[in-house]
């Protein structure tokens, strides 16, 4: 299936290659560079490129291209999914998925890639199994290793690979047994000029951090599970139980993982916590324009909205902006034409606003295209959909774990039309 993998950085250096079958020359990447040049923007490089003898399937993650070489028919999503899994693994192991991290740990990277694919077909991709095979580097361990000459490769055998719950490693032991769940909801919305909602939905995830000894069997129930419209599960979850009782029943992997992701899409359920008033106008035959934007809270369920950032992509003819703000700070990048306004917290007494002049290139006609406006914000201790975890029960182990649930609401793809 997957023949080879090349890792390429933004400046076009191939800094790692790995082949699972016969060696494919680096020159195959020239086709990729060609496509990249044509696409102009990194995001627009087509994920699948057909070349005379091979197919290239690539992903772009964290300023790196993962380019895989395929020779025969294979579902493209299979490869894409796998490449993302590779990137996730790097992230998991090294804390970041960057060129420097990969170069520093090239041997571990190679060992990982070796275990993840066999002859191009995925072998061990579960983080729990991989960590049994190859221990992630830590400062302490690297010091110890350099003194004792021991290695990162686990000398225990990966028994997890053999069990029928392959996602959990055996013999987990903690002195403090804890289970934390983060309910994170993101609001995706499109708001039109008049401020009414064109489209809104909530994308939620429950991320878990489970540090429990032995083989705990957990069940998590919600106060209002009917809210969840469309759910996707971690493989550990017993689907039947959910179907019949709407309870999440599972033996968790050890450590951090995403338990479920869900969607609440019926629009009347989606409250929009902020509103934006904005205007931009250009005078005919002058290289000046007025810009004005105000942001305020709306349906915030009594919680403070914080971490507000407004990003505006200005038209290309905008040369500079001369603004004053009542709160926070703003920057305008004259190259990318992006105005970023870091607002911070909203206090209802005094609504933050940003207004001032827009300078256009002299002689350029008044721009016809509209700027687009993206908003980021965060509300702590609130799941905007109203989803509430009811209780967490543990079976199969004797001890009493410490349990915690945290709720956060964020703006996802939150866009306001001009």
């Amino acid at each position: 299936m997957i023949h080879s993998l090349f890792l390429i950085n933004c400046s076009g250096d191939i800094f790692l290659e790995k082949h699972w079958k016969s060696v494919v020359s680096q020159s195959v990447c020239d086709y990729f560079f060609e496509a990249q040049e044509k696409a102009a923007d990194v995001e627009n490089v087509p994920p699948v490129i057909s070349t005379p003898h091979h197919y290239l399937i690539s992903i772009y993650r964290d300023k790196l291209f993962f380019v895989s070489v395929i020779q025969t028919e294979v579902p493209p999503l299979f490869v894409i999914e796998f490449l993302h899994r590779v990137a996730d693994t790097f992230q998991d192991y090294f804390g970041e998925c960057s060129e420097a991290a990969i170069k520093d740990n090239v041997v571990i990277v190679y060992e990982l890639l070796e275990e993840m694919l066999d002859n191009g077909f995925p072998l061990a991709t579960e983080s729990n199994i991989l960590k049994e095979l190859i221990k992630p580097p830590t400062i302490l361990r690297s010091v110890v290793n350099s003194i004792t000459g021991s290695s990162n490769v686990g000398d225990t055998l990966p028994t997890g690979q053999l069990s029928n719950i392959p996602w959990r490693r055996a013999g987990v032991k903690y002195t403090n047994n804890e289970a934390y769940f983060d309910v994170v909801e993101e609001i995706d919305a499109i708001i039109d000029k008049s401020g009414s909602t064109v489209f809104a939905e909530i994308q939620g995830v429950i991320d878990a951090c489970i540090k429990l000894s032995g083989m705990p069997d957990l069940s998590l129930s919600f106060m209002n599970p009917r809210l969840l419209d469309d759910v996707s599960f971690h493989p550990c979850i017993r689907f039947k139980r959910w179907e019949s009782e709407r309870i999440l029943s599972f033996i968790p992997p050890d450590g951090n993982f995403r338990l479920i992701s869900y969607r609440v899409s019926s629009q009347n359920l989606v409250a929009i916590p902020v509103y934006v008033k904005h205007s931009i106008s250009f005078k005919e035959n002058s290289s000046c324009g007025r810009f004005d934007i105000t942001i305020g809270p709306k349906q915030n369920m009594g919680k403070t909205i914080e971490g507000i950032t407004v990003t505006v992509h200005m038209p290309k003819v905008v040369l500079n902006m001369n603004l004053t703000t009542t709160q926070g700070s703003y920057t305008f990048d004259p190259v990318t034409k992006v105005l970023t306004w870091d607002v911070g917290k909203i206090t209802p007494q005094k609504l933050p606003s940003l207004k001032g002049l827009v300078n256009l290139q002299s002689g350029a006609p008044k721009p016809e295209e509209n700027p687009s406006l993206n908003i980021q914000f965060k509300i702590q201790q609130l799941a905007i959909s109203g989803l509430k975890v009811n209780r967490l029960d543990m079976y199969g182990e004797k001890y009493k774990p410490f349990k915690g649930v945290k709720y956060v609401t964020k703006a996802g793809k939150f866009q306001v039309y001009y």
């Binding site: 790692l16 020159s27 395929i70 579902p75 999503l77 090239v106 055998l157 489209f199 971690h234 689907f239």
Partner: protein, 1082 residues
């Protein structure tokens, strides 16, 4: 960004060829020498004894490989370390080896022996990793070794090793495709594997090696469907896409009915695939006509696939969701396809690459099944932050979804897009508007007006694109749009984009009648700028000139000639050709004329309006989700998705005789025989039989077959039947056989009249298992509990389990087995537990074959013909638990009457028994006609001794003294144990209780299967799984006291072996050792 590739090319140009060279090319000068030294010190480090130095060296080498540098000259130094103890060094050496072995084949061979040793390691993970590396070394010379290793690993006990074997198959195949036939055998074997671990990998191998052998799937189809949810994600994708293909060849189209409907309604189109809604009226008439036809009923297997894949739509893996979606799209009835939309929409939140692929597929689906995605229209709305390629795909989907009702919303949305900053996207939006306008007549004018407004846009690209689209729209109804054409004509002064200019010129030429005043003026302007125009524009200028010449030659004659003259000397030959051709055609000359008379018709023929359609139309002939679909071209290795068959192939090919999860334990044994279950047992009993085919011997062989299948086996089987009643049909062979049996029984019925309870017992069995045979009605009168075996009876109920027991064990045995119904023997429950344990997904082969082969002691004579005055009596040890009393050995007694008078009232007379021994008599046989035979079962409790049981066999007239002496091996019953339990128990039975003997195994008796067969034939013991290959373990319990009997055979080099028996009953132990040694050495 544009600088980046240039930079890399630059680098590739200079450093590319230079860099790797300094490693191995002595000619590359000064820098090289230091580099060479560096490799030298790596070699030195590899040669030391210190693991840490070796590790350091290997790490540096791997880093070199990772950067794509050549490290092949280190091969000899590295390969030496292949047997290194340090596990990390070893792993890195493997990495190196796999990378360079292909280039250094001879040296690579040095490492092979290490892997061969590894293949024999007791640790499954080491076996697996040895096989993995061995098969990854692409050295053709070792193909036979690889083949051997794969074959061996395919029957390894560890599912992990078997998985590795499945992975190795495509590797070997790509190395040497001549091995295909052998590999297919291995694949076939692995396909039958029960574990989720193996399933994905073997299907992958199947797809790469022999995707055309769809017949291999039949028997495994249901199993794959059922395992699917527990297979890991990658395997799921592969299995689902294979099953999609499979289903297309094996089932009927679920939309068949709909096409029939249509056929009825329209009496025309055959097999039309039209999916769009039909008129209500036609549906009614069709519905009326429908009952006449055979209604479509979905094959239960087809339904099974749909049902079992549906939960996977909730998988976290996009690849799995897509796989299920395509399966539903290609296989599900129209009404059910809708479920996939929600899951696909969910994927749109994923990474942009995932979105890209999903949108491509949604675009294709939305053409065929628009309704499916309509509720999710807004999910395809475009955000300014989306990458352009995503925007364009979303636009495609939105356009496909637009219909009469939602078009206002869609158009409003499009209006927003037009003001986007992304120009490519704006252009695409304009085209999308054009497509909406052509598809939906109602909004055509609105769209056209909107587009015309765009003509005053300041951005030239927008204008140009609008012109092109307007041109297409105008072609549909030119008469009403003179104004627009005039407007466009004015644009020629400003607009510079060639495509747009060409479009305007074409429009003016085509509809010059509507703008008679302007057209010549435009031509005048174009003639002036002719030389500066792009080629496509020039061609259109010629075109315009020609058309005007034909309609309005008075005004334009000179202009046309001027243009044609210019074109005659153009640099482009196309234009020159066109000019020459046009001149000949339109300007009347002396000789030509024939064509020029028709010039007007040629140039001004009414042209059909272009159809604006999606580029995704008809892409669904590629399997969705595939690479080929994405590229819209057949990729290498793409398996065509077959059309539905017109007639469904035989669905019974998927029937599996032995229910799912008991099969694995059968399998162990079956392997040796390679015959289907039922026929096998009959055939097998042949050797112990005389070749005669009278009903008696046949019935005996039948009873043997059931005895062979053993207690654990059959009880679990019955259990399973409870679960899948609907698989009843699948058990054809069984019912057939019992039907046969039933017929025999009708014959027998007369002498059997009495014994209400017992015969009813037995009758209910036969009738229930032959539920479809005609026999049922005949035995009706005596039937008390029809189909009782099918009910899941609680263990507390005494009668029912016994019935159940008998029904499966003594299926063919038609002498009343026992008088009082009792609970099933304990042994059954233990072995049932064993089988349940086998259910756990990981390790099915560990479940031992509890089924013991037929006792070595074949039929023994109880009463000779002469002594019995015509009555011949034989007995056999059936090895099935005696249903009356678990402590009893069940003995089958066969009577046959060779005299010429009937023998009446056969029964057991007063037995004279040694202390402790007891007998459960068989019910009296009323009468045995001359030439007839009968079989009865009696139970004897030998009290764990080999003393003979003496008793009298009485007829109405005579008494015979007979005795039965059991071989020691028949005094026990097999018991299930794990290896650990075995060891634990063995530990308790040391010292006095252990008897050890040495022996030499003859050559004929060194293979696994022979040894196992011989031991189990001698003694009724169960095999215990064992980690090492040359050790055999068996366990059983004596029947009366239930003491453990553990037997270990340790085969060593050259046939030497050691036999150990551990048992509390020392006498039995000693005798057993003697018997087993005798059996093995003979």
């Amino acid at each position: 960004m544009s600088a980046a590739p240039a930079y890399s090319e630059d680098k590739g140009g200079s450093a590319g060829p230079g860099e790797p060279e300094y490693g191995h090319d002595p000619a590359s000068g000064g820098i090289f020498s230091s580099d060479y030294k560096r490799h030298d010190d790596l070699k030195e480090m590899l040669d030391t004894n210190k693991d840490s130095l070796k590790l350091e060296a290997m790490k540096r080498i791997v880093a070199m490989i990772a950067r794509g540098k050549n490290a092949s000259d280190l091969f000899p130094a590295v390969v030496k370390n292949v047997a290194c103890k340090n596990i990390e060094v070893k792993k890195l050496v493997y990495v190196y080896l796999v990378r360079y072995a292909e280039e250094q084949q001879d040296l690579a061979l040095l490492s092979i022996s290490t892997f061969q040793r590894g293949l024999k390691d007791p640790n499954q993970l080491i076996r697996a990793s040895a096989l993995r590396v061995l098969s990854s070394i692409r050295v053709p010379i070792i193909v036979p070794i690889m083949m051997l290793a794969i074959k061996e690993a395919a029957s390894d006990m560890s599912p992990y090793v078997r998985k590795t074997a499945a992975h190795a198959i495509p590797k070997l195949y790509s190395l040497d495709s001549d091995q295909k036939d052998q590999l297919i055998e291995v694949i076939e074997k692995l396909l039958a594997d029960k574990t989720t671990l193996v399933a994905g990998s073997v299907v992958m191998a199947f797809e790469e090696v022999c995707p055309e052998r769809i017949d291999l799937i039949h028997k495994n189809y249901r199993k794959l469907c059922n395992l699917l949810i527990d297979v890991e994600e990658w395997g799921q994708v592969v299995i689902i896409s294979m099953l999609t293909r499979y289903a297309r060849t094996q089932f009927l189209s679920p939309t068949q009915n709909e096409s029939l409907l249509e056929e009825n309604a329209e009496k025309a189109f055959y097999g039309s695939e039209e999916d769009e809604a039909k008129g209500a009226g036609s549906e009614e008439t069709a519905a009326a006509a429908l009952p006449a036809r055979k209604p479509y009923i979905m094959d239960p297997d087809h339904r099974l696939l749909l049902r079992n894949t549906k939960p996977l739509l909730q998988s976290r893996s996009a690849a799995v969701v897509m796989a299920v979606a395509q399966l539903y799209f290609h296989l599900a009835p129209k009404a059910e396809v809708g479920v996939i939309a929600k899951a696909l929409v969910r994927l749109l939140r994923s990474h942009s690459e995932v979105q890209y692929v999903v949108l491509q597929n949604v675009a294709t689906m939305s053409i065929k099944r628009r309704g499916m995605f309509e509720p999710y229209l807004k999910s395809f709305y475009i955000r300014s932050t989306d990458p352009t390629q995503i925007k364009i795909l979303k636009l495609e989907v939105l356009t496909n979804l637009a219909n009469e009702t939602n078009i206002p919303t869609v158009l409003r949305e499009f209006q927003t897009y037009i003001r986007s900053m992304d120009k490519d996207f704006v252009a695409a939006t304009i085209q999308a508007i054009g497509r909406c306008a052509t598809n939906i007549g109602r909004v055509r004018d609105t769209c056209l007006n909107g587009l015309v407004q765009l003509l005053s846009n300041r951005d030239e690209l927008v204008v140009a694109e609008s012109v092109v689209v307007i041109k297409k729209l105008l072609q549909m109804q030119p008469a009403q749009h003179g104004e627009i054409i005039k407007h466009l004509a004015k644009l020629t002064d400003n607009i510079q984009v060639p495509m747009a200019r060409a479009s305007i010129l074409w429009l003016i030429g085509e509809y010059c009648e509507h703008v008679p005043r302007i057209a010549p003026d435009v031509l005048r302007k174009m003639a002036k700028s002719f030389t500066a125009e792009e080629d496509i524009v020039k061609l259109q200028v010629i075109n315009l000139a020609a058309k005007l010449y034909l309609t309005n030659s008075k005004q334009t004659k000179l202009l046309t000639q001027y243009v044609l003259s210019l074109a005659k000397y153009d640099q482009n030959y196309d234009i020159r050709d066109r000019a020459r051709f046009t001149r000949q055609l339109i300007v009347p000359s002396e000789q030509g004329g024939a064509l020029s008379r028709h010039a007007k018709k040629l140039f001004l023929a009414p042209k059909p309006a272009p159809v604006l359609e999606s580029s995704f139309k008809d892409r669904d002939h590629f399997q969705l989700g595939s690479l080929s679909h994405l590229l819209n071209a057949k990729a290498t290795g793409y398996q065509e998705l077959p059309d539905w068959p017109e007639e469904a192939p035989d669905p019974s090919v998927r029937n599996v005789e032995v229910p799912e999860w008991t099969k694995c334990s059968n399998r162990e044994k079956r392997k040796e025989k390679e015959k289907p279950f039922y026929s096998d047992s009959e055939g097998e009993s042949g050797p112990t039989e005389s070749a005669d085919s009278d009903p008696e011997s046949e019935s005996e062989s039948d009873s043997k077959s059931s005895s062979e299948s053993g207690s654990g086996e059959s009880s679990s089987e019955s259990d399973n039947e409870d679960q899948d009643e609907d698989e009843e049909k699948g058990r054809g062979s069984e019912s057939e056989q019992s039907e046969e049996d039933g017929k025999r029984k009708t014959k027998k019925k007369v002498p059997e009249g009495k014994g209400e309870a017992s015969s009813s017992d037995e009758d209910s069995d036969s009738s229930s298992s032959t539920s479809e045979s005609e026999m049922t009605s005949e035995s009706e009168e005596e039937q008390l509990e029809p189909a009782s075996w099918r009910r899941k009876t609680p263990p507390s109920s005494k009668r029912a389990p016994a019935t159940k027991e008998i029904s499966l064990l003594d299926l063919e045995d038609f002498t009343p087995p026992s008088v009082q119904p009792v609970s099933p023997p304990a042994i059954v429950s233990t072995s049932l537990a064993a089988d349940l344990e086998g259910l756990t997904l990981t390790d099915s082969t560990l479940v031992p074959s509890l089924l013991s082969p037929v006792s070595r002691v074949g039929r023994q004579e109880l009463l000779h013909r002469v002594a019995g005055e015509g009555l011949v009596v034989d007995y056999t040890f059936s090895r099935q638990p005696f249903s009356g009393d678990p402590h009893m050995v069940s003995v089958h007694i066969h009577f046959s009457n060779s005299s010429d008078t009937p023998i009446k009232g056969l029964h057991v007379g007063t037995p004279k028994l040694p202390a402790g021994i007891s007998i459960q008599e068989f019910p009296e046989i009323e009468s045995l006609a001359p030439g007839e035979s009968a079989t009865a079962v009696m139970g004897i409790n030998f009290c764990d001794s080999t003393q003979a049981a003496n008793f009298q066999l009485c007829t109405q007239t005579r008494q015979f003294y007979v005795s039965i002496q059991p071989p020691v091996g028949e005094l026990m019953a097999p018991v299930f144990m794990s290896e650990n339990e075995f060891k634990k128990e063995q530990g308790k039975l040391m010292g006095m209780n252990e008897i050890t003997e040495k022996l030499m195994l003859p050559d004929t008796c060194r293979s696994d299967h022979v040894v196992v067969q011989k031991v189990t034939a001698t003694a009724n013991l169960g095999r215990v799984p064992c980690g090492t290959s040359d050790e055999y373990r068996f366990a059983g319990r004596t029947l009366t006291s239930g003491s453990l009997v553990l037997l270990t055979l340790d085969a060593r080099q050259a046939g030497a072996a050691q036999l150990t028996v551990n048992s509390e009953k020392m006498v039995i132990g000693t005798m057993l050792v003697k018997d087993v040694i005798q059996a093995l050495t003979q």
